[in-house]
Subunit: 393 residues, 2 copies
C-alpha cells in the first residue's frame, strides 16, 4: 500500500508538477471537481481585471463621449469656465465634434498654434483637447508636460491618440491624462475603418456617464429595464451593438502587438520607428537635395511620431507645389505615401510617409528614397497623368 | 469606298446595336474618347441619385442623431413642447438614449402602453418615438395612422425599424414619417453587429445637422477645413470612419433583397412571412394545447411583424414559468428561438420565434412545432441542464 511518503515521492518525480503553479488553487482545498468546472489559470484573473479601455464606435463618436463627459465634470467643478482650447491644425473631425458641443452647451472653441497652447491655459478654459501626434506634420506633443500645465490651471486634458497608438509609447496614467480616444485602423492595423477606442482615467470613470447611453453601457443590459443604470467603469462608454466582424479583425491587429511583447514590445518598436524615420530623413537630405523639399517633421526624437512629412512650396507665381504629382508618381512606382494640401495660412503642401515598425524594413526605406530621387531628377512627376486629381486611366 | 448608306446598313445589321440604348450619350455628339473615359450607363445615374438612407454606426447612435435633430426642429417650431412620448415596452436602448437627451435638454420622457398612445399626443409633446414592431411581442403599429395622429397634434414622429426592415413592407414617405433608424443584423442579415441605418424625411434633412458632426458628414471632408460645414441631405447624418469589413458583409445581406426583387420583392416576402407565422400559430394551437402556452403576437395580419411570441405564466406559488428551459430544450434539439423574461408588470415570460422568409421553409415550421410538442409532452425541459441560466458543461 502506498504511504503518504510514497505519494510525496511520486509528486516529486512528476514532471508535470510545475504546471500546478499556473492555477489559482485555494489553499487548504483539494479540488476534485475539475470534471465539472476547471480551476482558472492565474493569467485568466489578470485578463479579467477591470479594464480602462474599450474598443468601440468611431474616434469621432468616442471623442463626443469623452468631451461631453469632460464638459460635464468641468461644469460641476468650475462652472464659470466656458472654453475648450485646441490646436488649429488638429484633425478636423475633432474640431467639428468640439464645435458642435460648444454650440449646444454655450461654450467657445479657441484654436491656437502649438507654441500658443501654454499661454492659452487661463482660468476661462474648461478643457484642453489635443491630438498627441499631428496628422499633417508628424510632430508629437509632450503629453505629460502639457497635461501637467493644464491641471495646474484647473483644466481637464483630453487626448486623441489616432497617430500615436501602436506607433509611440503612450503612458496615459503616468501623464495623469483625463480622457483619451484613438483609432483602430492606423498603426494598430485593425483593418479598414476598424472600431476605435476610448479610455477614461479611472478616477473619473464613475463620476458621470456620457450622453450616448445605449444598452451596451447599461449595468445589466439583458434585464431590459426601461431606465438607464450605467455600468461601472469604462463599460459605460459603450453604446450600441458593435460590428463584430470588424472587431474580430481589430483583434488580429492587436494580437501582433501581443506577439511583439517578447521582442521588446512598444519600447523596441519605438526604437525601430525612430531608426526608420531617422534613416529616411538622412537619405532624403543626402540624395534628394536641390529639389525644393523641406522637412515638416521635428528632427528631435521626443517631438516626432512615426511619420515623416516633407514639404514643397507653391511657386511665387501661384503655380502648384507639385507635391500631389510627386506622390502620384511614387505610387505608380509602388511606393505608397499620401498628400495633404497646405492650409490657408501655409503655402507648403505636404508629402506624408508613415513608417510602421511592425512591417517596414530599412531596405525599403532606402528603395523608397531612391524612387523619390529618380522621380525628382527625371521630372516624370510633371507628366499629365500625375497631375490630374481625378486621374482617368 | 463605303457610303454613308453602307454604314447605316452595317448599323442595321449590328447585333450589338441595341446595347447603345443602355448609355447616356449626349445628342449631337460622336463620342470617340471611350479609351480614356467610358460613357456612363443610364443605370449608373439612377444609382447615384441623392439617397435618403445611410448605413452607419449603431441603431442607438443613429437614434441619438435623429432624436437630437427632432428635438431641435421641434424647439424651433414649438418651443413650449417639452415632452417625448414612447412605449413602456420599447426596446430599452431607445428609452436610454431618449432619457439621456431629455436630461440634457430639460425634456420629460413619458412612457405609455400601446392603447394610451393616441390620448398621450397633447400639445405638450414634441416627439413621438416608437418602434414599429415590438421586440417582445411582435406586435406592429400602424405607422401611417400614428404618424398622422402625431402630425395633427403638431408632433414629430420618429420610428425605429429594427424589427421591421427586411421583415415587413415599410413606407416611410407614404406615412410621412419624420425620422427613422434601423438595424442591419436582424432581418437584413448583415452579420453580427452589422452597421445600422438612418433615414430622414428629405423635407427636414437640410434644416439642421445632428450633433455627432464628424468629418464623414462634412460637405468637403478632404478639404480638412477647421470649421464644420454639413453635407447636403442625409450625408450629414454620417459621423466618423465606418467599419468597412462589416459594411461589406451588410452589403451581402442587402444584395439578397436586390435578388429577391425579381421574385416579387418585399410584397412577396411579406406574403410568405405571414403564411409562415400563420402556420406556426395554427400548428401550435392544434398540437401543443394543454401546456399553458399563450399567444403574445396579434392574430391580425396588419398588427403582426415577422415573429411569433408565445407566453407562459409564472406559477401562482412563484415557481418559474419554464419558458427559459423550454427554449433551452428546443435549442438542444436544433431549433433556435430565444427567451425574454416578463417585465415587472407581467407575470408572463416569452418564447420568441423569428421567421425570416428569405430562408425559412414551411417544413421547418412543422418540424419546429413537432419538437416543441415533444419537449412539452415529454417534460424534458424540466431536466436540470435546461434550467441553469449559466450552465456548466
Amino acid at each position: 500500500m502506498k504511504t503518504l511518503f510514497d505519494c510525496q515521492q511520486l509528486d516529486a518525480q512528476d514532471r508535470l508538477r510545475p504546471l500546478r503553479e499556473q492555477f489559482s488553487l485555494p489553499e487548504g482545498v483539494i479540488y476534485l471537481d475539475g470534471n465539472s468546472l476547471g480551476v482558472l489559470p492565474k493569467t485568466a484573473a489578470a485578463r479579467a481585471e477591470p479594464g480602462e479601455v474599450v474598443a468601440t464606435d468611431s474616434t469621432s463618436i468616442n471623442l463626443f463621449k469623452v468631451l461631453s463627459a469632460a464638459l460635464t465634470l468641468a461644469a460641476q467643478d468650475a462652472p464659470s469656465r466656458k472654453r475648450i482650447v485646441s490646436e488649429r491644425s488638429n484633425f478636423p473631425t475633432d474640431l467639428y465634434i468640439a464645435e458642435g458641443l460648444c454650440k449646444e452647451r454655450g461654450y467657445e472653441l479657441q484654436l491656437v498654434e502649438p507654441d500658443e497652447i501654454a499661454a492659452s491655459l487661463t482660468d476661462e478654459v474648461a478643457v484642453l483637447m489635443l491630438t498627441h501626434v499631428n496628422y499633417r506634420t508628424g510632430a508629437m506633443h509632450d503629453m505629460a508636460a502639457l497635461t501637467a500645465l493644464a491641471h495646474e490651471a484647473g483644466i481637464l486634458a483630453v487626448w486623441d491618440l489616432a497617430h500615436s497608438a501602436g506607433a509611440v509609447p503612450v503612458a496615459l496614467k503616468a501623464a495623469q491624462a483625463d480622457f483619451a480616444v484613438g483609432c483602430g485602423y492606423k498603426y494598430l492595423n485593425g483593418g479598414p475603418g476598424a472600431p476605435a477606442f476610448v479610455w477614461v482615467n479611472p478616477k473619473h470613470a464613475d463620476r458621470f456617464w456620457q450622453p450616448l447611453a445605449g444598452w451596451w453601457g447599461h449595468a445589466a443590459p439583458f434585464e431590459f429595464t426601461p431606465d438607464y443604470r450605467p455600468a461601472p467603469g469604462i463599460t459605460r462608454y459603450l453604446c450600441g451593438t458593435q460590428p463584430i466582424l470588424s472587431l474580430a479583425a481589430l483583434e488580429c491587429g492587436l494580437d501582433v502587438f501581443v506577439a511583439a511583447e517578447v521582442l521588446g514590445g512598444m519600447a523596441a518598436l519605438r526604437t525601430k520607428s525612430l531608426a526608420l524615420t531617422d534613416l529616411f530623413i538622412e537619405l532624403v537630405e543626402q540624395r534628394c537635395g536641390g529639389h525644393g523639399l523641406g522637412l515638416a517633421t521635428p528632427a528631435e526624437h521626443a517631438q516626432r511620431g512615426s511619420q515623416v512629412c516633407l514639404t514643397r512650396e507653391h511657386g511665387q507665381d501661384g503655380s502648384s507645389s507639385g507635391a500631389f504629382a510627386i506622390v502620384q508618381a511614387l505610387i505608380a512606382r509602388g511606393v505608397i505615401g499620401d498628400f495633404r494640401a497646405g492650409d490657408g495660412q501655409q503655402r507648403k503642401d505636404i508629402l506624408r510617409f508613415g513608417f510602421t515598425p511592425l512591417y517596414i524594413g530599412f531596405e525599403e526605406v532606402w528603395i523608397a528614397v531612391e524612387h523619390l530621387k529618380q522621380v525628382l531628377e527625371s521630372g516624370e512627376w510633371k507628366l499629365p497623368e500625375f497631375n490630374q486629381k481625378h486621374a482617368v486611366t
